[in-house]
Amino acid sequence: MSVIRVLVANRHRLVRELIVASISDQPDIQVVQEIEHESEVEDAIDRTQPDFLIVTLDRNSGLPEFCNLILQKRPQMKIIAIAPDRNVTVFYWASLQVKSHPIEASEAGVLDALRGIVRPAARIQ
């Protein structure tokens, strides 16, 4: 079974730990590193070679700029961005240009996205 390698980047420890707690029990998913500062992301990617980067969306704004740069430089990378203050999670990938698709903002939605099954967002309880 191939393992999906995930890098989690968030400046707030609690959100980071909650994200890791929600995916780390899965046998086919490995959290390769948690990092606090966005300035460390590029180095961490080089070192750990993740399949996915999980970040959080800033309040009232879109994908952080450093993520756009990562997608442009590394089109094989896929990013899942979670909005802690909204029930929103978005899947980003690059194919000539950066594309995005909202996914179900739940543990199941994120796990499906990691496994290559994009579960569309829906208003859920």
């Binding site: 909005a83 802690p84 903002a105 309880q125």
Partner: protein, 234 residues
């Protein structure tokens, strides 16, 4: 040991599920509900629900949202705010709105578990660095909100009452103006009216005539701690 019943109201379902998972691994907790913040009304009628209510936003403690929450919990719930900003003014607003605890974004999941446990046991949870703001806030409130007997006796307005302790402390008009973001002339006008209402001839006398009043917490004003009051409290 009795089970601690927890309700989690978070904007983001992933984070909500994750907290439920972390608490659910411990036998002392029972997550009885984790409603979406947008669907709180669906849970009206659920009674006797929680010991601790976990929230990720202060907005739930404002009137309309609070009515919703109280509508589906017949017991007095204990709100514990999680993943909050490192902002003393937000913390004080939370305390004023009835929060029992305030856990910062930089806390750990283990801190959350400990905080839920503490609140369930009747303790308040406060980031250590905010304790000082609580002390300052209480000191400020005591000084700035003279007793109703003083107000009744002299007919002082709220602003005039706020000026009295600063006049007592010997602050100049300029300093008082800076403290309240007023012009010096406005401060002069307030002091003129206080002198007229209290019938004393100069500002030194204002402190003397007002000092007779009993402070709200029953201590002499002269024995109260004097803090430099931070602007975040205003």
């Amino acid at each position: 040991m009795s089970t601690i019943r927890v309700v989690i109201v978070f904007h983001n379902r992933l984070l909500r599920d994750s907290i439920a998972r972390i608490l659910g691994k411990r036998t002392e907790f029972e997550v009885v509900a984790a409603p979406n913040s947008e669907t709180l009304s669906l849970h009206e009628g659920i009674e006797d629900l929680s010991d601790v209510l976990l929230l990720d936003s202060l907005e739930y403690l404002f009137d309309s949202a609070r009515q919703k929450l109280e509508g589906w919990s017949s017991r007095a719930f204990r709100p514990l705010l999680l993943a909050m900003e490192d902002d003393p003014s937000l913390f004080l607003r939370a305390v004023r709105r009835g929060a029992w605890g305030y856990v910062l974004q930089d806390a750990s999941a283990a801190d959350v578990v400990a905080a839920v446990r503490s609140v369930a046991q009747g303790q308040a949870v406060c980031p250590p660095q905010f304790t000082r703001f609580l002390f300052e806030y209480i000191a400020t409130q005591t000084e700035e909100m003279p007793s109703s007997s003083r107000r009744k006796r002299w007919g002082l307005t709220r602003r005039e009452q706020q000026l009295v302790p600063l006049i007592e402390r010997g602050l100049s008009n300029k300093e008082i103006a800076g403290y309240f973001h007023l012009s010096e002339q406005t401060v002069k006008n307030h002091i003129h009216r206080i002198l007229r209402k209290t019938g004393v001839s100069d500002r030194l006398g204002i402190g003397e005539v007002c000092r007779d009043s009993v402070s709200p917490i029953g201590t002499e004003s002269s024995t109260q701690p004097k803090f430099e009051v931070s602007r975040v409290l205003s």
